[in-house]
Symmetry: C2
Subunit: 112 residues, 2 copies
Amino acid sequence: MDQERRAQWLRGVLDLCVLALLRHRESYGYELAQSLNAAGVGPIQGGTLYPVLLRLQRTGLVAAQWREGAAGPARKYYRITPVGIETLHRTAVDWDAFTSGVGVILREVQTR
Amino acid sequence: MDQERRAQWLRGVLDLCVLALLRHRESYGYELAQSLNAAGVGPIQGGTLYPVLLRLQRTGLVAAQWREGAAGPARKYYRITPVGIETLHRTAVDWDAFTSGVGVILREVQTR
DNA sequence: CCGCCCTAGGTTGCGGCGCAAGCTAGATGG
DNA sequence: CCATCTAGCTTGCGCCGCAACCTAGGGCGG
């Protein structure tokens, strides 16, 4: 897949994906990057993910907490807030509406 | 819907939508803007659409032709090229894969 | 005749954000 | 002792939608 275009597509969805991953269980940056990659979103660079997490934290959609790891460096665990959950739900609905709108236009182009 | 976020989403999909609209029938900027709005993608500003059309023209995905209108200013008609059709098909498949990947992550968030 | 609105095209500057590249620092292993 | 992995963070670049603004033709009301 065209890498440059995927970057465009990630814009404005990546924070949603992070929120969705934090929906049920808290996590930290490094693990989130692995989860996103495993989910097929693609490899997310540190320089991409950490600013996202900082933005989410500053806007109050997630709460962060430093925790000492048994091995390795300390981890910064992120937990979704009620505001984050509400935002996630609302925006996910918008995303669905948008993609279905685009889908209507692109529909006959491909063999689904 | 959050306007800022919709702008992010439009990024990297708008040119695809334009190509898809030109798939069967040539058109011009102003009409394309109305078609996009009618299709539910949202109102597209001139300062957004015309640079898109120029990019598509420069990269050879569409061909342009000035034509005198019976009334009003002259129109610049755009027609999709074979390269444009091929690009449209290929990228539409990628888009489908990407949205379905994101969908997996967001799935349980909403009531579909 | 002048002002206003619609059509139709275009340019410019701003801002958001993913990314490449580079940094610190702890633990592990050759 | 240095390489590698884990874990976090910062900086500069580039893309692109958007607001704002401009040109220009035609129709209509005052």
